[in-house]
């Protein structure tokens, strides 16, 4: 019998060539080229740590290369909290193999057994004071070989950098205002572009009087392609002025009606759907059924609401185009651009530059196509396009609204004997580069337009979409989980942090809390009694210990708990919320415990969990995309408020370090548990269950009226 070939990490299977990941440079540094991109999550630093550790070079010598389709490994999209799992594992393996190849070469050159050689900051030395270095040997050692999984990475105990908190490599530039964001780049000859978009949802441009726009000083060109229209000018203010003039000359078709924002569940449950049974667990020995609790939970559409409006630059050279973007997936964007432009992908280079945090699929990709289309009229000069705040808040995809219904069958002791969880929601993913049709906004506007892509859900094996985190981790004897994905999409949706995870965890954990209260059982005890996974139990116990669960009951104060393992395969997180409830809800403190396996940069993990907890608090207390029947109305920060400094709770995070366990991402672990913890704390404080997010004063009053 032959032993199976050693298994390579997925990113290495797709990009096995060592030289595509690692290169020793002439100036005594090492260039590391991951396919994942920095979106404010600190990934570039964590990957540099992994490389520094495996190669035994000081991290100051590691130069991280931004992803580009010109040279980088294709690692798909930076999403789903997978970058450490995918890019981190690949780099660890690559660097271990590179190190081994250099040790063999050094052994030959120095005449010393490779096992006796040691590497210290890139210098390879052995007994008898002999030494060489990666850089001296780099002419002799070709890295144009595929990874073989033949070298073992260091054991956890031998890692000196990974597993320790270090300062992020990108932060000094941001503190000293060095141009680092795409928004700050000044290419020679740069022109500024703006695109005309309708206020009315789904309206098409049917006529355009360009006279006024043509008269604007500084205007360079007006670009038209069917219903796509925009302006290019030699200055940003001139582009704005020309757009304003163009808008006055525009005639739009009637749009497409939007749902009733006050009856999202009614809308979601009345649309044509594709129904999928996600999971069933039949009862082995049915127990006697006493009653069924039937509860409905909703969450609204949520905006990514990046602090920076989306921005891109493009420059044509004949039939080749170079694109600068803050997209999460340079290769995927390139694939969609190739479809729209009807060009081979090789004619297009897509290069990443940092933008502001995006939290999922926002307008980053859309604005890249805008720039490419406008730049066609720029005579070979680069064009920079930046969306307005208004367009960012109305034309970018939103996180999908959800209605979730759970029926819990209880026996006479109010123990759960059956569980039916059904989800109605648009799909949670319409990213570019994954279908035969493009997902980019302008593709639906040009002459011979493509239809708007109706968002779908990733398969359950990849964590699912609307169904993410819907399968209980608890030992209920039976369940059926069903997902109804809408086949209409009046409000454009795509990936927002956690996809359906936040809604499903909110629903499951709210109902668990309700059943525990019905039984008169402490919710922590109830959780522990239904969980077998020790890592799950550990985070719950750690959070409880840290929050001194359960603090003495005080008037006007409430405590609640929420737990999930992100995607049921990723990070474990338990959250305990302390809230103050009177006229309004104020979240005072969040205590979290998290287990990401090996934490590469523990402070980076804490930063991600803190950020996720605060963002989730903002979603729960304030956020809801607003619309009337014809247009999105929450197009400014006044109409789409987010949590402010004075409203932000104290956040306390404990990491359970497991250096021997495969690392997983941290960016999306906190949202579901924090949402549920706050909702359960509201019940503890006020005695009412609010099952519709966001939990606002009006919603609490409505819930109180319903209860009385």
């Amino acid at each position: 019998m032959t032993s199976p070939a050693p298994k390579l990490p997925v990113s290495l299977v797709a990009n096995p060539r060592l030289s595509s990941w690692v290169r020793f440079t002439g100036d005594g540094r090492v260039a590391i080229s991951p396919g994942k991109v920095e979106i404010g999550q600190g990934i570039v630093t964590a990957l540099a740590q992994i490389a520094a550790d495996e190669l035994d070079v000081d991290i100051s010598k590691v130069e991280m290369i931004r992803a580009s389709t010109a040279a980088s490994p294709n690692e798909g999209v930076t999403s789903g909290s997978l970058s450490i799992q995918q890019s981190g594992r690949a780099l660890r393996q690559v660097c271990a193999e590179v190190r081994q190849r250099f040790l063999f070469a050094a052994s030959e050159r120095l005449g010393v057994d490779a096992a006796l050689l040691d590497v210290d900051d890139g210098t390879i030395s052995g007994p008898g004071n002999v030494s060489t270095s990666y850089w001296e040997l780099s002419g002799d050692v070709s890295l144009d070989h595929d990874a073989t999984a033949g070298a073992a990475a260091k054991s956890a105990a031998r890692r000196a950098v990974a597993g320790h908190s270090i300062q992020r490599v990108d932060i000094p530039d941001k503190v000293f205002a060095q141009p680092r964001f795409i928004h700050d780049q000044a290419l020679p000859g740069l022109l500024h572009g703006r695109v005309l978009r309708p206020d009315i949802s789904g309206a098409k441009l049917i006529a355009l009087n360009e006279t006024a726009a043509r008269a604007v000083p500084g205007r360079v060109a007006i670009a038209r392609d069917g219903g796509f229209a925009g302006v290019i000018a030699d200055a940003e203010a001139a582009a704005e002025a020309a757009l304003k003039a163009l808008r006055k000359g525009a005639t739009w078709s009637a749009g497409e009606p939007l749902p009733d924002e006050d009856d999202l569940a009614g809308f979601l449950k009345s649309q044509p759907v594709e129904t999928t049974v996600i999971d069933t667990k039949p009862a082995l020995s049915p127990r006697e059924h006493a009653r069924t609790l039937r509860r409905q939970y909703t969450r609204p559409y949520i905006a990514h609401a990046s602090i920076a409006p989306s921005c891109a630059m493009a420059r044509w050279d004949g039939d080749r185009v170079h694109v600068w973007t803050h997209s999460q997936g340079v290769y995927l964007l390139r694939a969609d651009l190739a479809i729209v432009l009807k060009l081979p992908a090789e004619n297009i280079v897509v290069e990443h530059m940092e933008g502001a945090g995006c939290y999922g699929h926002n307008a980053a990709d859309d604005v890249a196509l805008d720039a490419v289309l406008l730049a066609k009229a720029a005579g070979g000069r680069p064009v920079r396009v930046q969306w307005s705040r208004h367009d960012e808040m109305s034309h970018a995809p939103f996180g999908a609204a959800m209605a979730i219904e759970i029926e819990a069958d209880l026996d006479a002791d109010n123990e759960i004997i059956g569980w039916r969880h059904a989800i109605w929601s648009n799909g949670h993913a319409a990213r570019p580069g994954r279908a035969a049709q493009p997902a980019l906004l302008a593709a639906t506007e040009i002459a011979n337009p493509y239809p708007r892509m109706i968002s779908t859900n990733p398969p359950a094996a990849n964590g699912g979409g609307g169904d993410r985190n819907s399968v209980p981790l608890y030992d209920f004897p039976a369940w059926t989980i069903t997902s109804h994905r809408l086949l209409t999409m009046p409000v454009r949706t795509s990936a927002l942090r956690t996809l359906g995870g936040q809604g499903n965890v909110f629903a499951i954990e709210s109902l668990l809390d309700e059943i525990a209260a019905l039984r008169g059982e402490d919710p922590i005890a109830f959780h522990l009694r239904h969980l077998r996974d020790e890592r799950a139990r550990d985070v719950i116990r750690a959070a409880a210990r840290r929050a001194q669960w359960k603090p003495q009951k005080q008037a006007g104060i409430g405590h609640g708990v929420g737990f999930a393992r992100y995607k049921n395969t990723g990070a474990y997180c338990a959250a305990i919320a302390e809230i103050e409830g009177a006229d309004d809800i104020r979240v005072k403190r969040l205590t979290l415990a998290v287990d990401v396996g090996e934490a590469i940069n523990p402070d980076g993990v804490i930063n991600q969990i803190e950020g996720g907890a605060i963002q989730a608090t903002s979603w729960v207390l304030k956020e809801r995309v607003r619309f009337d029947r014809s247009r999105i109305t929450s197009t400014s920060w006044t109409d789409y408020p987010i949590l402010t400094f004075s409203e932000v709770p104290a956040v306390d995070v404990e990491i359970i370090q497991r250096p021997e366990t495969e690392p997983v991402g941290a960016g999306e672990a906190a949202h579901g548990p924090v949402t549920a913890a706050i909702a359960n704390a509201v019940f503890d404080c006020l005695g009412v269950r609010v099952r519709d997010l966001p939990i606002t004063r009006d919603r609490i009053i409505a819930a109180m009226e319903l209860a009385s």
Binding site: Q167, I171, K174, R180, A186, A308, F645
Partner: protein
């Protein structure tokens, strides 16, 4: 073309500018400043904050005529890698950001606060920064950084 004269990060300058042109546009597109960011264009998010005569103000909706003879400071004017402002040092020590797009405006808000109130309480820091939005949830780290800088600056 009319001119406007003012001080930028300590240096007197004169720029050709339409008096109704916005300060942010002139800073970014004419004067090479990256330490004031466009966020909303309506003075609602703080990403474009600059100090004008010691007060943090939005530059996206501030016409050039209103900065005539004023003292304007952007994040570039706070300090450099070689000579960092205590706030810049503290933001690095506390790793006080995620994406960092809002940070230059927040550094300006904090610097203006420390000018008028050198030893603020935590609540005062939060109140002063309520005009700045952060979407990543780095607020608490930033508040800690401001308090750290304040106590460092108070040392004799």
């Amino acid at each position: 073309m009319p001119t406007v004269q003012f001080r930028l990060n300590g240096a007197a300058i004169v720029v050709d500018a339409d008096p109704d042109q916005m300060l942010l546009d002139v800073l970014r597109n004419r004067l090479g400043i990256a330490g004031a960011h466009f966020g909303c264009g309506a003075g609602e998010c703080g990403a474009c904050h600059v100090m004008v005569d010691g007060r943090a103000m939005s530059s996206c909706d501030m016409p050039m005529w209103s900065v005539e003879n004023k003292d304007v400071v952007t994040a570039e004017g706070l300090g450099t890698v070689e000579q960092p402002h205590p706030l810049q040092r503290a933001f690095i020590s506390e790793q006080a950001m995620q994406c960092g797009y809002c940070v230059s405006g927040i550094l300006i808000g904090a610097a203006a606060l420390l000018k008028r109130n050198p030893l603020p309480t935590e609540a005062e820091v939060r109140e002063a920064l309520d005009r700045n939005l952060c979407r990543c949830g780095s607020h608490n780290r930033m508040v800690r950084a401001v308090l750290r800088a304040a106590s460092e600056m108070a040392l004799p």
